[in-house]
Symmetry: C2
Subunit: 132 residues, 2 copies
Amino acid sequence: MSDKVTMKRSRQRDAIIAFLKTRKDHPTADIVYQEIRNTIPNISLGTVYRNLAQLSERGEILRLPCDGKVDHFDADIRPHYHFICNQCGCVKDIHLPYANMLDQQASEEFDGIITKHSLLFEGLCSDCTQSE
Amino acid sequence: MSDKVTMKRSRQRDAIIAFLKTRKDHPTADIVYQEIRNTIPNISLGTVYRNLAQLSERGEILRLPCDGKVDHFDADIRPHYHFICNQCGCVKDIHLPYANMLDQQASEEFDGIITKHSLLFEGLCSDCTQSE
DNA sequence: GTGTTTGCAAACAATTTGCAGAATT
DNA sequence: AATTCTGCAAATTGTTTGCAAACAC
């Protein structure tokens, strides 16, 4: 849709990317905001949203619409699946190989063009399993 | 979580369910609202949301958080998969058998408990394929 | 009659946007 | 110098909620 327009560097964006890369969970925009404020106290929430939107549009990070409410962001852009805990809402990676077969099967019975799929598992994470 | 509490019937709710059952696409709350207004002109949007929430909590309809923005609702509660068009945003059914295998595979490499998954295909619907 | 449902409007949460000034190239 | 980026606050969007009156059982 849109070409990759010139991007100037900024302290704020660098910090956002760097932070996302340190995390294996998948922070929300607000968590990113709270964290970055430790380093850049007067960063604004708008800037965080702007950068996350920008970066995910360019494919440099992933936007995960896991729980239908709040988006989560992932610096690991390799195709992989996710899990969301029904109790605490945490989001984790599921390391299964991407199932091309599913796209093929779906294509066979579908009239349009299928380019990919996303797969979200649900249940209880290990922490919540114990405290139940 | 919550027991099925007594439910009194209402003209509005009956209309909402009836409408949803006539549709194979998966209307949003707002579309339901616009439609029902033809029959019940002074129904309020709040009532539509309240009933859709209520019905999906009781498992009488499905809430589909397809596009991360707007929820879609489905009167077909049998487990099945969905497709969302990247162009027009329409949501369609994908009739593949529910893949229990995926839950098993995911469970093997995951520490918590996996109860189910949802699978969303993306691409272009047949209409958008032609107009491209 | 008791308790649920409604319409309305106000409240809310997550996110986006307009703008003037600051920072990057 | 040109353009992108930021902080701030206001605007938007989708959805939920509080309340008094209306309705169902």
